[in-house]
């Protein structure tokens, strides 16, 4: 039928347009950088850009995990609390035993995060609790645990050993360690999502959960896995956070979960599940970091941060939906009952 053929051809064009979301984002980021640079040339220096990269790296690492979860039609609102709790616990341990080898510290953080993420996973898979409720609950519970643990106190820079403080900011080939770690993690996630069975199962699960089950994909295990991964990543990020800011406080990363969802959504991860790319999420994180730093550098009040972020999410979501709806209308003539 003529409209059918048209549908497929337009599908080609739309597919190309969708892929160009990363291009659009990339262009937007460049334009922003240039615009900020014009206003304050100090922004275009490598030093100042390192700050942007550090922010982006921290955000990207968790946004990737969050993105994976959103692909499975879930969400994890507890990421900031997991980060804060692991940061605090690791900082305490380092304070008590400053000679601990760095690698052990990192592993400890990752392990702690894994435990927290597993609890999320158990509540969601075995308990059958919807992810938004489950992680809303653990968001409060884990943040409460930070208070319980630290008694409201905090660890400051003097109580932390030098090598720990250098973990995130120390440089390797001119780039801060954290940025290098983030790149490595991004590559790992890319390979995982695109070239491993588990990764492809994640997409299948998000795209059509019933069909995935029929196809023999172990949906419970996959779901559990993505929350554990997120926990592991948040644990790692917690160590990095404490290292980067040289402190661990009870309000560490308060409100950070929103940014991770924002980075993912802006980066093209659909809240309906089943789609999203690593480069997209990275660009989303970079965009947010550029905005954050750009606003500060331009002398625009930092109070605009949040408003701009929220506006961008709305923009991304609105444009996505009109986009997807047009695509769907063109291609699907009728949905089988």
């Amino acid at each position: 039928m003529a409209s059918d053929r048209k549908g497929v051809a337009r599908g080609g064009l739309l597919v190309r347009a969708a892929r160009s979301r990363e291009i659009v984002l990339g262009v937007f980021v460049l334009l922003l950088i240039l615009a900020t640079g014009l206003r304050s040339p100090s922004f275009l220096t490598f030093e100042s850009f390192k700050l942007v990269l550090l922010d982006a790296a921290m955000l990207a690492v968790i946004a990737l995990a969050q993105g994976m979860i959103i692909i499975t039609r879930g969400i994890d609102l507890s990421v900031a609390s997991m980060l804060g709790l692991t940061a605090m616990m690791v900082a305490f341990v380092i304070r008590a035993y400053p000679e601990t080898p760095i690698i052990l510290t990192v592993l400890l953080g990752i392990a702690l995060g894994g435990v927290l993420g597993s609890l999320n996973g158990v509540i969601i898979t075995a308990g059958g609790v919807p992810p938004i409720i489950a992680t809303l609950g653990t968001l409060s519970a884990y943040r409460g645990l930070v208070f319980l643990y630290s008694n409201g106190s905090w660890i400051n820079a003097y109580q932390l050993p030098v090598d720990f403080k250098q973990l995130a900011k120390g440089e390797w080939l001119g780039l801060p360690n954290l940025v290098v770690f983030a790149v490595v993690i991004a590559i790992m996630v890319y390979i995982f999502l695109n070239h491993t069975h588990a990764g492809r199962d994640i997409y299948a699960l998000g795209s059509n959960p019933e069909a995935a089950k029929i196809a023999g994909i172990r949906t419970g295990q996959i779901t559990f896995m993505v929350y554990v991964i997120c926990g592991l990543v948040c644990g790692f990020a917690g160590v990095m956070w404490a290292s980067r800011y040289e402190a661990a406080q009870t309000n560490t990363a308060l409100g950070f979960e929103l940014q991770t969802v924002a980075a993912a959504v802006i980066g093209g991860v659909s809240m309906l599940g089943g789609s999203g790319t690593v480069p997209g999420v990275l660009l989303g994180a970079l965009l947010l970091a550029v905005i954050q730093n750009g606003l500060t550098v331009s002398g625009i009040s930092p109070f605009w941060q949040l408003a701009v972020q929220g506006f961008l999410i709305l923009l991304a979501v609105i444009s996505d939906s009109t986009f997807q709806q047009r695509a769907r209308r063109l291609s699907m003539r009728r949905v089988a009952r």
């Binding site: 039928m1 409209s3 059918d4 048209k6 549908g7 497929v8 599908g11 080609g12 739309l14 597919v15 390979i191 695109n194 070239h195 491993t196 069975h197 492809r200 199962d201 997409y203 299948a204 998000g206 795209s207 059509n208 019933e210 069909a211 995935a212 029929i214 196809a215 023999g216 994909i217 089943g274 789609s275 695509a327 769907r328 291609s331 699907m332 003539r333 009728r334 089988a336 009952r337």
Partner: protein, 504 residues
Amino acid sequence: MSGPILQMTNITKSFAGVHALRGVQFDLCPGEVHAVLGENGAGKSTLVKIITGVHQPDGGEMSLNGQRIQLAGPREAAELGISAIYQELSIFPDLDVAENIYAGRRPTLPGGLVDWRQMHREAGRLLQALSVNLDTRAKARYLSIAQQQTVEIARALSVNARILIMDEPTSALTLSEVHDLFQIVRRLRDNGTAVLFISHRIEELFEIADRVTVLRDGAYVGTRLVAEARQDELIRMMVGRTIDDLFPKQQVAAGDLVLRVRDLSRRGVFEGVSFDLHKGEILGMAGLIGAGRTEVSQALFGIAPADGGAIEIAGRPVQITSPRQAMECGLALVPEDRQHHGLVLPMTITDNITLPILARFARQGWLSGQGAHLAAFDAATRLEVKAVSVWQRVRELSGGNQQKVVLAKWLATAPRILILDEPTRGIDIGTKAAVHSLMSELAAQGIAILMISSELPEVLGMSDRILVMHEGRVTGTFDRGEATQERIMMAATQAAPMEQADGL
């Protein structure tokens, strides 16, 4: 044909005390297309679910290749080479064609990673074997229904299915797509696959099937060779009655013109649709599924408004852009999909029946409970809904009673134009007859009825005039006297509009 690959004897299955299958026998031979014919509720889908391992029979035996088997679940059935393609496609819209075919069974590289190249290569081969031209990298979301179906068939092939079950595969296809599908099915058959084909369209069975088995009310009626079978015999087997018994003729003098549709169109869906409807008249809309009839009804009711053409109600031109507007013009629509569009299943009969007219029982917003229940009670009793009380939740009712609730709901809005989309689909014989006599009554009361139906006997038996659509266009109009099944079928499969019969 060699001996049967699948044999089922004396199969019995009940759900909550209701028999879905009683002593059914069925056999399937390799290299044949065996159709299963029966009305909704006859037990076809239960039979299929037993073959695919979703349900286990309460009694009877099933053997595969002569060996008795008991399927614990769908995975075991799949391992034995039994595959099914249902109406609700199991497609992953965000994955590409190759991954759709190999979901859960992707080829692996020596290192443990996914072997994309191999997957695309194999997928390409499969599609070629089906003589289908599809880019394996295309995302399934952008394929047409027919193409998605092909992907599912390819998937079944990739697991070396020896038994392929196709459940109503043609419901969403255009004629040329059905033609292509049948080519594929023939190829599968010639390769030795056993195909179990479920359809309610008798015409198709004559085209594609080798044998046909008829079920009625969960019982086995008989099996015939398609070459030797006759359509009216099959209908009689399906229904247990001749056509005439089923559809009470009603002669009503058509009254004033109440609805005039001119050149109605929606881009890409239908165009140039024109017809008149008079008080007391039943206009039957016939055609294959995909012809655009439901879309026309949705345009008339404001669910998916048309973008061209004119609608006049009782002589006044109207623009219908929402269901509320349509209702204000006196229209009512009993939708095709009862469960998703017609009813709110978890809610009570009262809630469902009074939903469109709730404002009537509210004084200053305050809802008077009794008023609503009384009205619902009246409506439900008049239609003889079989339920314990108006407080019962609609999901507990049988299909026929659910349809009665939907009808009661719309009748309570006192429409002057009633659109019925497949009004007797999926309901038992008794309720079917009740619905038909209700339609006659309503017509006699002066209500104009537009009836969309895919059952030719129903269209022929109930309509005063018949409108036939094909691929979005009106291709034929007939008066009751001059309509025959052949003429309707010809118009329904025609590409060019026929000469309009007089009296548009």
